[in-house]
Symmetry: C2
């Protein structure tokens, strides 16, 4: 068994340096993204870490340690980019000044995905320092565009398919379902996104001098957005649910058996009432059903104007059976059918279209991951969960490299990912290192030196 | 008859200096607002121009010329504050770098209300220079908060009611209806405004990890906003139209007689279809009917989030018969009734509540204004129009000073007031000065020296 640092001080110092680089893929300058990539490459020196800058997009980080002949090869995937901060005024401490606060470290990217990436690096370094080798062959691939839909990842993997060939992808992205017990994820949802743009007059108009005589784009947009769901929370777009197999009685039973309090779940969010597709429990909605959310809306301001344009940003989380292109098509048709006269309505679908992804419960990687977690969390049952989030890389790896992806992240779903005050549980650093050690040993067929 | 400058160069230079002061009452620093007030006071030196700083709010500018014993006294009202610029990228030239472009001058405030205020000053100065006196007693009162609902004007007028006593208020704010013929305005609409705040979870949530299980505040807000109008454009809030007398056949006939092309009106706005309350023509909607417009909406952004708050800004233009408090009450009741479960909905009504205002067509001031315009625009019919915008000061002047307000502005309604690329027609400078000269002479009972 590897020995790790007796206390967390070095780990927190190093992780803080990584988090302090504001690598927001949506709008950071390229120098900032290269700084984050460079930091990662530096940590991968033992495996020849390289920053590879593609023709367009943020850099990839690559490294290979392939000195375990006869052992399997895994490709470790993660990302160094982060979501925008949102309103910085809502952060308790500045998003890029990572701060230890009791048993957590707070900062944008601590949980998604810099913390989970960081602990893999430390596991590998500990193997090299203490055993002079990793127990199996490991290729590393980290990208800087996961939070914007990985627009350049597929081309990179296709161009380097031979060098990236592996028996399994292990993703350091994803998340444990909740802090109370370990879980492995058997699926992630797909993702499509689009903007609805409603345009009225050629310019903003004085609401007195023109009010009541021309269509207001905000009113027209509100009608469209209100039409996307039924009052009780189902998606009201005809064809949205096409292709989804019915939820089996067996799976419903399996989910019902999981200890879960919808009341506590809501209370932690400051809510008393849930809301969602009728006929499903909270966990079924979360894991098994697709969603359509308006993520943003923007027009005019607090002054007496009829704005000439109103914009909504929409994204959908998809489940197995749904075709991303078909989902875009039916939403577009719905919006065009609902659009009021007197305004121009345009639907702009984003390029990135990610189908849902699954891995079988009896896949050898799932069995190994379950065993690794059982070793690190003795006496606890390892749940079969889902990632209701989207990992765009998974379907692509299967298509281009012909292998499945195991989600093996030590992020937890309640760590305010994508929101202000994102944090990471400090204990997950140590639990994660130990678990990666076990996982690699198990996958290598190596017996653990206990 | 006064003689004015043979060309416009000085006028444009001076007006540009006034417009270049970015006196945006919503968010300018107090030094900027004082600079604009100071510029005005300087122009009123002949009447002892003073900047008066109230305990709260932006300064007032006051001046009196009272050396016409036996002649009537008028109080000239206007404002030196301007609307926010909106998106500066949409301006052809920067909003606070006023630019002459052919027969117009472009810049924020050129038309609302700095240009129309400026030309009164020049008229008065020309009287003083050429005749050594004004034809009647004139008090000047300019404020810096018109665009934010004049929150401190009533208290100022109440505190100085004796000094401000006059036989008539003449407002340099307002607007000619259109550039093709002169018009006098017999009414202005009232105004109330409010915000609708919809709150969900206590923090922004990852749309994958929580999507489908909790109410999305944007969805709930869209349902509320969509419910405020019928599909064909009437306000759907029960009680909104309470108290409005039916439009008389006589008034309908009068409006129908006015040469007006709804097609051209829409074409100038880049539109082919109008939209509004059914059963009324475009002009009837504009002049005789109240409106409810969502002016702004804001939540989240283009990333995969369920925002925890969504906000809409709403304002209503009111007509005679509507009680502003009642309108706020019925909207609040409507919103509360429509609010979906799973979110908290709050209606925040703004303090400023302005009723509609009217002046009789046969009021002596209207007769004098009509005659003055006929003199400046020979051979043209002077229309009886309405200001569909709101001049909050009018009802207050009537209440506190007991006098009517004559709208006498040389702004034109198509000059992109409150929008990017606001402009003022340069010819209106000269037409306006001549008209104010005529108006003052007529009100004074002085025969014009032609």
């Amino acid at each position: 068994m590897l020995s790790f640092d007796p206390d967390d001080s070095r780990y927190l110092r190093e992780l803080s340096a990584f988090v302090a680089i504001p690598s927001v893929s949506r709008d950071a300058e390229s120098a900032t993204m290269r700084a984050a990539a460079g930091w990662l490459a530096g940590q991968l020196e033992f495996a020849g870490g390289l920053v590879m800058v593609p023709a367009s997009g943020h850099p990839f980080v690559r490294a290979d340690w392939l000195d375990a002949p006869g052992a399997p090869t895994v490709l470790v995937y993660g990302h160094y980019d982060v979501q925008p901060t949102g309103d910085e005024a809502e952060w308790i401490t500045p998003p890029f000044h990572p701060t230890v606060d009791g048993d957590i470290i707070r900062g944008r990217g601590t949980s998604d995905d810099k913390g989970p990436v960081y602990l893999v690096l430390k596991t590998a370094q500990a193997f090299m320092a203490q055993e002079g080798a990793l127990p199996l062959n490991v290729k590393f691939l980290f990208e800087g565009e996961e939070e914007i839909g990985s627009p350049n990842l597929a081309a990179f993997v296709a161009d380097h398919a031979a060098e990236l060939a592996a028996d399994l992808v292990i993703s350091a992205d994803g998340a444990m379902w909740r802090p109370t017990e370990p879980s492995v994820s058997l699926a992630s949802k797909g993702l499509v996104s689009l903007d609805i743009v409603v345009e009225g007059a050629s310019t903003d108009l004085h609401s007195g001098r023109y009010g009541g005589t021309v269509a207001n784009p905000i009113h027209a947009l509100a009608v469209i957005l209100a039409s996307l769901h039924t009052p009780d929370g189902a998606v009201a777009v005809d064809g949205f649910y096409d292709g989804i197999p019915p939820l089996s009685a067996e799976r419903r039973h399996e989910i019902a058996e999981i200890p879960f309090s919808a009341g506590n779940y809501l209370a932690e969010l400051g809510l008393t009432l849930g809301h969602g597709e009728p006929g499903y429990t909270t966990l079924e909605r979360l894991w098994e059903r697709p969603t359509l959310d308006v993520n943003g809306v923007r027009s005019g301001g607090k002054y007496t104007v009829i704005p000439h344009v109103a914009i909504a940003h929409i994204s959908c989380r998809l489940v197995p059976g749904q075709d991303p292109d078909h989902v875009i098509d039916v939403i577009t048709a719905h919006v065009e059918a609902v659009a009021a006269p007197g305004v121009r309505v345009t639907v702009r679908a984003d390029e990135a279209r990610v189908p849902a992804y699954t891995i079988a419960a009896d896949h050898p990687a799932i069995r190994a991951a379950t065993a690794a977690l059982e070793a690190v969390y003795p006496g606890q049952h390892v749940l079969n969960a889902r990632v209701p989030g989207t990992l765009p890389a998974t379907a692509m790896f299967e298509r281009l490299l012909g292998v499945k992806t195991l989600f093996f992240s030590f992020s937890t779903a309640d760590e305010k990912l994508h929101a202000p005050n994102e944090f990471f549980r400090i204990r997950r650093l140590r639990e994660g290192m130990r678990a990666w050690e076990q996982l690699w040993r198990l996958l290598a067929g190596t017996k653990e030196a206990s």
